[in-house]
């Protein structure tokens, strides 16, 4: 995606500048409210933002990996997250016997496993039947296909998972405790989410940079044909990318459900958009960027919901404003490589 500095008309820059200055002034005003509203509230909302960032980060990693390798926005990735959550719920409801449901050290790993398996299966099927045949088609085709898959998955769960037409209760399969870190109060599941997401992100980064397969993935993302000449099978690498992304999303789904105690067939859409925004913000193709972008998005959502005019009704409007500004002024994101010329 090449940038085109020549084409942005002057008035656009002026408008953008005005918007940025306006935002800054609002922030100053908000700071005033904040000092008298309480530092504790700020810290708490920050902590909430980081928790949200954890979920989004796990999903964003999937987005950024897939885009890096086949230049496709997998719109349906958010639904993979949702399906993972339902997979975990299914394990809880129908696989786990009554006696062990209360023991979180048995049920949580089981649900995680279930969620991951379901998510991975769906992702692999998606790749094989919806995306692979369109590998060489013009850009529009896989995008529309992804939209179609997303809608179809959402509806499939609503139609065929029992009672999924309305949100389903999801058990907190973890210690029910609240942890106080100074002025901040978080539940144990929220902490678990943060810890798991950071650990998994680090593991993923290590894998990609150190292992052979990781090298293969990086090579394929640069140039399929050359990679093939080097003896790498791009198809297999692509499937593996989808698998890994889906596994992360599955984990995110189960932990999300455990945290909020309810999952519905619509949780994929909104979280998916946030995750993609995070991936773009951080620099598409960069794992580190995806995670950091996710935390930034989480913070923007909670802090703007608290301090910006319009409150929680407009919180994700601010996220989109940030997205648009980033794409105008720094399309490669925070950590992305500038200018990789693609056809």
């Amino acid at each position: 995606m090449t940038t085109s500095r020549l084409e942005v008309p002057g008035y656009v820059r002026i408008v953008a500048g005005v918007v940025v200055v306006g935002l800054f002034l609002w922030l100053v005003g908000a700071l005033g409210k904040l000092i008298d509203g309480g530092f504790k509230l700020l810290l708490q909302q920050t902590a909430n933002g980081i928790v949200l960032g954890g979920t989004i980060g796990l999903i964003a990693l999937g987005y950024t990996m897939v885009y890096g390798i086949i230049q496709l926005i997998n719109f349906a990735h958010g639904e993979v997250f949702m399906v993972g959550a339902f997979g975990g719920l299914a394990v809880y409801r129908w696989v786990l016997p009554e006696s062990v449901r209360g023991d979180w050290y048995i049920s949580l790993p089981a649900m995680l496993l279930g969620g991951v398996i379901v998510a991975v299966v769906i992702a692999v099927l998606m790749e094989r039947f919806a995306y692979r045949p369109l590998r060489n088609a013009p850009r529009l085709a896989p995008l529309i296909t992804a939209l179609g898959v997303s809608v179809a998955l959402q509806e499939a769960i609503r139609l065929w998972f029992p009672d999924a037409a309305s949100p389903q209760p999801f058990p907190t399969v973890f210690i029910e405790a609240r942890v106080a870190l100074g002025p901040i109060s978080l539940s144990a599941s929220q902490l678990l989410l943060i810890v798991v997401s950071i650990v998994l992100a680090v593991l993923l980064q290590t894998y990609i940079s150190r292992s052979r397969m990781g090298r293969a993935m990086r090579a394929t993302s640069q140039d399929h044909d050359t990679a093939r000449l080097m003896g790498i099978n791009p198809d297999r690498v692509i499937v593996l990318t989808f698998v890994m992304g889906a596994a992360l999303a599955g984990v995110a789904g189960v932990l999300y459900g455990s945290n909020l105690n309810s999952v519905g067939n619509d949780i994929g859409f909104q979280n998916g958009i946030f995750a993609f925004t995070a991936a773009v913000l951080g620099g598409i193709g960069s794992l580190r960027g995806a995670v950091i972008g996710a935390f930034i998005i989480g913070l923007i959502k909670t802090l703007s919901g608290q301090y910006m005019p319009g409150g929680t009704q407009y919180d994700y409007v601010w996220i989109f404003v940030v997205l648009i500004l980033v794409l105008v002024f720094r399309p490669q994101g925070l950590f992305g490589e500038a200018e990789r010329v693609r056809a």
């Binding site: 085109s4 656009v12 896989p142 296909t145 179809a152 509806e155 989109f320 399309p331």
Partner: protein, 597 residues
């Protein structure tokens, strides 16, 4: 379907298609269901015994009879383009059979409903499916062949006589189109509790219409008519408009309030789809938040129409309100377009999606007291011009026309206007600039096109058209609510443009019609509607990404076919062979021949 080419040796082609035709005839007369279904007898006397009352066939059985006869005639007569005709008939008839089979089997609780049970045999649907397959395979034995060309004047006349002759043909052709449209609209009737089989009857009719149209296309009739209409454009436009106006009259059978409302809604969405076609189809700017512009136009018009919930309290006459709505939407379109200039492709999609969602949220929260938020803005007064409110029934030329017909007329005019704008733009410098940007933006810029300006203009024009459509929509509906302008509507509009065929007018109209008529007709499947929609998007992109009525460039891009329907590969092979041929001859001209057709 090129996989079927040459599946059987050429010698078997004729027997296959002949047997196929005969089987259609038999299927038409066989009973289709072994017993009367629980919800009532399946239509067209489907449990009629074998060859009982062969002259009383109606509905889809009569269609099959017709197809069978046509197939037999085409097999044995030296008609040009016969393979395509037979293929189309096979598809159409096969679809009729498949729909009947699936539905009767589904409602009747098992395959026994369509084969044999309790001593009664009913193989009609299965025979039809087999016949369709035979026809299709048989017709593909020697490849599809070329679409025949027809001379401009069938009698070899010239000058004024030729023009009059062409006019007659056009009149007949468009009257035929009117009849077909009216039949499609009313096929299956209103449905509901009184007639539970509206859905499958409608699909079966689609099979018939599709088969018929495919056959006509195969003979070259449709191409000939379209060439004629190109040559006599003003006349064609007038006749088309007259036909559209004739739709509500009682003789077409589509003259009830319900059909008027369906047709008017299709019109509004078709106008919006044509606007989207400018953005996506011509310029290749993937816009996932397009319905926001329709919404903006709608709310502006609502606020200016004197509705009680409006904070402005102005009451402007409808044409003025609609104009202002369109202009405001256009300006906002240009504003939305500006930050997107630096982003391409997928990123553009996300940015426009973001704008769409921002609009949705803002509307839901009653921003600036302009949208009524969750309580919406009810009670928008109906448009009132020339002394009649548009939702009253009127009396025209002695016929009693249902209420809502004036809205329909207005929308026909608006759609015609939008089409004119689109056609003019497409053939102008700006239109060519847009197409160039779509194909390769860097090359376009290298050619000196101001891509930034062009893209903003595309957004502006598209948004203006959407705003106009939105203003009309909201006056017809009487309520402006954020619920009507959600992300799903954007996706549906995009799907309509893509399904119909990007960059063509008939494509956008066809796509919008299908996507808004099908859910209406198939209301009993409304539970599965979204799921099927998602699946359909995937399948279309996989098997026919160029849409139903593609333009020349798209067809080349997606399907590898030239405008005449030949495969580009075949054309190139041909050219290479010719070149090698001429090089082998001693008197070959120096240098390579022009190899491109």
């Amino acid at each position: 379907m090129s996989r079927l080419n040459g599946l059987i040796p050429a010698a078997l082609a004729r027997p296959f298609t002949a047997i196929g035709g005969v089987l259609f005839l038999i299927a038409a007369m066989l009973p289709w269901a072994t017993f009367i279904l629980n919800d009532g007898a399946y239509p067209e006397k489907s449990t009629l015994q074998f060859f009982d009352a062969p002259f009383e066939l109606t509905g889809f059985r009569w269609h099959l009879l017709l197809f069978g006869l046509l197939a037999l005639i085409v097999t044995f007569a030296p008609i040009p383009g016969k393979n395509r005709v037979l293929g189309a008939l096979g598809w159409g008839g096969g679809l009729i059979g498949a729909v009947g089979a699936a539905f009767i089997a589904g409602k009747g609780g098992g395959i026994g409903a369509i084969t044999a049970a309790d001593g009664t045999i009913a193989m009609g649907s299965i025979v039809a499916i087999v016949a369709g397959a035979l026809l299709k395979i048989g017709s593909a034995a020697t490849g599809p062949g070329d679409i025949p060309e027809w001379p401009t004047s069938l009698f070899g006349w010239t000058g004024m006589k030729q023009r009059l002759e062409a006019w007659v043909y056009l009149l007949v052709a468009f009257a035929g189109v009117l009849w077909l449209v009216a039949q499609t609209l009313t096929a299956g009737g209103i449905g509901g509790a009184a007639f539970p089989y509206a859905g499958p009857v409608f699909i079966a009719f689609l099979g018939f219409a599709g088969g018929l149209l495919g056959a006509l296309h195969g003979i070259g009739l449709t191409r000939w008519v379209s060439q004629l209409s190109e040559k006599h454009r003003p006349f064609s436009i007038v006749v088309l408009l007259l036909c559209a106006f004739a739709l509500p009259f009682p003789f077409t059978g589509a003259g009830s309030q319900y059909w008027m409302q369906v047709a008017a809604t299709i019109g509004v969405y078709a106008a919006t789809a044509i606007g989207l076609n400018i953005v996506v189809g011509l310029s290749g700017l993937l816009d996932l938040g397009y319905v926001a512009f329709m919404g903006i136009g709608a709310f502006v018009a609502a606020n200016l129409s004197g509705v009680a919930a409006s904070a402005l309290g102005w009451n402007l006459p409808f044409p003025l309100a609609a104009l202002i709505a369109a202009v405001v939407a256009g300006i906002l379109g240009a504003i939305v377009g500006s930050p997107t200039l630096r982003v391409r492709g997928d990123y553009l999609a996300i940015v426009t999606l973001a704008f769409g969602e921002i609009f949705s949220r803002a509307a839901q929260n009653d921003i600036g007291d302009l949208t009524g938020g969750a309580s919406a803005m009810p009670g928008i007064p109906p448009v009132s011009m020339f002394g009649t409110a548009f939702n009253e029934p009127i009396n025209l030329l002695g016929a009693e026309l249902p209420s809502g017909v004036l809205y329909y007329f207005m929308i026909v005019l608006v759609v015609a206007l939008v089409m004119a704008v689109f056609a003019n733009l497409k053939n102008s410098r700006m239109g060519r600039a847009w197409i160039a940007i779509r194909e390769d933006e860097d090359a376009a810029r290298a050619m000196g096109i101001r891509t930034g300006k062009a893209k903003i203009l595309a957004f502006l024009v598209g948004a203006t058209l959407a705003g106009l459509a939105g203003a009309i929509f909201v006056h017809k509906l009487g309520t402006a609510s954020y619920d009507s302008f959600k992300f799903l509507e954007s996706v549906t509009l995009l799907a309509a443009v893509i399904l119909g065929g990007m960059g063509t007018i008939p494509g956008a109209v066809l796509g919008a019609s299908l996507l808004f008529v099908l859910p209406e007709k198939l209301r009993e499947f409304s539970d599965y509607r979204l799921f099927v929609f998602g699946l359909a998007l995937v399948l279309i992109m996989r098997f026919r990404p160029q849409g139903l009525v593609p333009d020349r460039i798209r067809r080349a891009e997606f399907a590898g076919e030239t405008a005449e329907g030949k495969s580009i590969e075949a054309v190139e092979e041909q050219a290479v062979l010719e070149q090698e041929q001429s090089e082998r001859e001693p008197g070959a001209p120096a240098g390579p021949k022009e190899g491109r057709s």
